[in-house]
């Protein structure tokens, strides 16, 4: 990847940086800036000369000059630097590359077929380009994605199925005529998704979708393993590493939000011949897929984060506990671990640090949500039923095999190398007072742009959903967003100016959780959503604590009654009482948070519950037993379509005569409603 003559590129880039700065900034400050840029740009250019050099350079430039000049100048510099760098690069005849996004979401959308088609075309027509694979860039709603980088720039094509691939290759590669209509993102002109990428700050996702996750060389070309090498080269002490993480303000990204540096400090303080680092990749929240994307798109960054943690706490073994439902993530992690061994990054005396021995292996989860809880996870690794135990002792004192253990989540580990390279201050410049850095969110549900976004903490929920998420599908009204999965809650529209940081989200009754954001519109019934989550936690309760085991069951029964039209006065009070009992009397996070979806929906959508209970109506028209289908006699043409399609023969009527629905036979399946072309079935 690195051109042989990169030194001369380096020089010419520096020249052009100087020139562009001279043009945009007054001479007196430009000199000092020049120096700082020289210092900070050179090493990072050397390390990461490849197609995506621009972001990393502009980032490091931004940091070093942030303090001395205003932001407008800052932007103009980074822009002109970007331009001049890409111009310089283009003069060195980078080969044209075609990259296909092959994450789980891309594959589900048919990216394998796209890849095979392009490969076949390349071979049959003997085309001159490099064909590469990458993972998810977060734009799941535009999958399959194909990126073409040629001497003019980078173009990201969206929704490229096999047929469109043929068209794109023919036009773009053979005729050098990019097809503007299919381009969703480019830095060359205004494309539909430019804002989606532009509004994000990518630290965790810095490599996802930009490199081949199965290539350690590509990871290394993007600052990969530089953080641990820096620690080794500078002989940085364990306490200094821990202090850096503490100062960065990084908090556990799995949902708890406990300061990562503190965890490491505790684990380091407990001396033992054997210690462990564990990566919690048991991403169980339905509606969350951040960790899957990181593992599939950038497995080495997680490994490097774990290696640094292992160094900091003197661990001797590492385990990645990954859900079995993520076969691609497991495959790529296995490849990454093998490559790390081959390069001597795992094994004995790694990175030249005497006595630093580390092996990491993958433990496949067997499908239990509660194993996301750290003590249950440890029990599961030990081969037991995944049941949580009382804390203290915390895992930092007595964890896996009763040895001091540090457990962090995938996203937390992926942050670590970046923080070590760029410094705690650089990380802490993003975010709010108590929640530093960025957070990855998985946008899903009734939102236009479902996919992955990484934003600085402190952005409002509204901005995440409307600016990045593109607003609500089908021009429906935004009703609520569910954050934190089964442990979280529903944040209503009127609170959507809440900023995303741990404390602000907690104040609404929801939790930040691992970062799932399921967007709901007016056609989502909040009682049904509460029932959905409680059904989930009820099934996933390990059964150890009575309140969680029985309490969730009883709450579910009440919700079941309400949604079936048998709600009674006093049900809401009963639900609330049970909820507080469960929260107070459960041992682990699952039970303590299980009632949150019910409590938040009662708090913000009490009128919907009351409509179900008092009027036996579901305002969102979701709860079937509460619906009534009727024929609009004005509009009915007697076409007999509904009659023929009704699975229970509840509709009667002759051709060209008004039809009639027998309410006693009607199962409320909604087939007549969806089949009628004249909108003559009324739903109430």
């Amino acid at each position: 990847m690195i051109p042989k003559n990169f030194l001369s590129i380096n020089q010419s880039i520096n020249q052009s940086i100087n020139q562009s700065i001279h043009q945009s900034v007054n001479p007196s400050i430009s000199q000092s800036i020049n120096q700082s840029i020289h210092q900070s740009v050179n090493p990072s250019i050397n390390q990461s000369i490849n197609q995506s050099v621009n972001p990393s350079i502009s980032q490091s430039i931004n940091q070093s000059i942030n303090q001395s000049i205003s932001q407008s100048v800052n932007q103009s510099i980074s822009q002109s630097v970007n331009q001049s760098i890409s111009q310089q690069f283009n003069n060195y005849n980078m080969p044209t590359t075609v990259t296909v996004g092959l994450g789980s979401c891309g594959i589900a959308a048919g990216a394998n077929k796209t890849y095979d088609k392009i490969k076949a075309l390349k071979e049959s027509d003997n085309l001159d380009f490099k064909l590469k694979k990458t993972s998810c860039v977060g734009m799941c709603y535009r999958e399959p994605l194909v990126e073409i980088t040629d001497e003019t720039g980078t173009y990201l094509y969206g929704e490229v199925d096999a047929d469109r691939a043929v068209e794109v290759i023919e036009k773009h590669i053979n005729q050098q005529a990019p097809i503007r209509d299919y381009i969703v993102y480019t830095d060359l002109f205004d494309a539909p998704e430019n804002d989606f990428i532009g509004a994000q700050v990518k630290i965790v996702l810095r490599n996802c979708g930009y490199m081949d996750p199965e290539s350690i060389e590509e990871y290394e070309s993007r600052d990969g393993y530089q953080a641990i090498k820096k620690i080794a080269a500078e002989n940085t002490g364990r306490e200094v590493v821990i202090d850096t993480i503490l100062k960065s303000g990084l908090r556990g990204r799995g949902g708890g939000g406990f300061p990562t540096g503190m965890k490491w400090k505790f684990a380091n303080a407990n001396k033992s011949a054997d210690k462990y680092v564990i990566c919690n990749a048991d991403e169980g929240d339905p509606g969350a897929f951040m960790d899957r994307s990181v593992l599939e798109g950038d497995p080495h960054s997680v490994l490097e984060g774990m290696i640094i943690a292992a160094y900091a706490i003197e661990a001797t073994g590492g385990v990645i506990y990954c859900r079995a439902e993520y076969p691609l993530a497991i495959k790529r992690l296995n490849i990454a671990i093998k490559q790390a061994h081959e390069h001597g990054y795992l094994g004995k005396n790694i990175f030249g640090i005497e006595g630093f021995n580390l092996d990491i292996y993958i433990k496949e989860g067997a499908g239990a949500f509660v194993c996301g809880e750290e003590t249950a996870l440890i029990a599961s690794i030990e081969g037991e039923r995944g049941m949580p135990r009382k804390r203290p002792p915390f895992p930092a004192v007595s964890g896996l095999w009763k040895k001091p253990t540090n457990i962090n989540n995938v996203e937390t580990y992926a942050n670590i190398p970046w923080i070590i390279i760029h410094g705690a201050e650089a990380y802490a410049q993003y975010g709010t007072e108590k929640s530093k850095g960025t957070k990855v969110f998985a946008l899903a549900g009734k939102v236009r742009h479902s996919g992955l976004v990484e934003v600085p903490m402190g952005m409002t929920i509204r901005d995440v959903i409307f600016k990045l998420g593109g607003g609500i599908k089908n021009n429906k009204r935004f009703k609520a967003v569910q954050m934190g999965g089964p442990s979280g809650g529903c944040i209503p529209e009127f609170l959507s100016d809440t900023i995303v940081d741990y404390d602000s989200v907690n104040a609404t009754g929801a939790i930040m959780g691992s970062g799932g954001m399921v967007v709901m519109d007016e056609t989502t019934c909040m009682v049904d959503v509460a029932k959905f989550f409680l059904d989930f936690t009820c099934k996933e309760s390990c059964g150890k604590c009575t309140f969680c085991r029985m309490g969730t069951k009883r709450m579910l029964e009440i919700l079941d009654r309400i949604t079936n039209g048998y709600g009674r006065e006093g049900d809401l009070e009963k639900l609330e009482e049970l909820a507080f009992q469960i929260k107070d009397n459960s041992l682990c996070g699952l039970g303590q948070t299980a009632p949150n979806p019910v409590l938040t929906t009662i708090k913000y959508f009490r009128d919907e519950y009351e409509a179900h209970i008092n009027h036996k109506k579901c305002p969102a028209k979701v709860c079937r037993p509460l619906l009534t289908y009727k024929v609009d006699e004005e509009k009915c043409t007697g076409c007999m379509v509904c009659l023929k399609n009704c699975p229970v023969k509840a509709i009667t009527g002759e051709r060209k005569q008004k039809h009639f629905i027998n309410q006693e036979m009607c199962t409320k399946c909604g087939v007549c409603f969806s089949k009628c072309k004249f909108e003559s079935i009324l739903l109430s």
């Binding site: 993520y326 067997a366 239990a368 030990e382 095999w401 479902s450 999965g485 799932g516």
Partner: protein
């Protein structure tokens, strides 16, 4: 708790004659190692598609792990099956994103077409219909997974069409 998963069907699990010697390499690999119980069960399930009573007994006999411990673990985790399954498992996602986008319709359409309930296997043992919590393809909701292939943006009719086509291709 997953009470439903604990119920086992003696008749159906007894009807298959299994070559238990296939377990030997697995046992040799994991015997005596700490934390080996889950990998043993996962390995056994990979070999046979489910864990039969006979397989449990052999594992217990050869590794010395008490049968009660094994059964306790096997019934705790959603992954383990104690009954034979179809050649193809249809996993219909019922995660949050799929749920709010009518995943129920997918399951119901398939139940009607395959004439089985959720969690059951068709008579010809070609399909097992299953609801799962989240496949992590939320942007394509509602989704289902058959084998390694994920199908997204489904409707009830579309799901039925896909399932029919696979059966046609599989029977030819």
């Amino acid at each position: 708790m997953r009470i439903t998963r604990i119920i086992t069907n003696e008749e159906s699990s007894g009807s298959d004659v299994q070559d238990l010697s296939m377990l030997d390499p697995l046992i040799a690999k994991h015997k005596g190692k700490k934390g080996n119980l889950i990998p043993l069960l996962q390995g056994a399930q990979e070999l046979y598609g489910f864990i039969s009573k006979a397989a449990f007994e052999k594992l217990a006999r050869d590794t010395g792990i008490p049968l009660s411990d094994m059964f306790g673990v096997a019934t705790f985790y959603a992954q383990f099956r104690l009954n034979p399954v179809g050649k193809n498992i249809i996993k219909v996602c019922h995660g949050t994103a799929c749920h709010v986008q009518n995943a129920v319709e997918i399951t119901e359409s398939l139940e009607e077409m395959l004439k089985v309930k959720d969690g059951e296997t068709t008579e010809d043992r070609f399909y097992t219909l299953e609801s799962v919590a989240c496949l992590g393809c939320c942007s394509l909701a509602p989704v289902m997974m058959i084998g390694e292939q994920t199908y997204g943006k489904l409707t009830g009719n579309e799901a039925v069409r896909i399932v029919k086509n696979i059966r046609l291709a599989g029977n030819n």
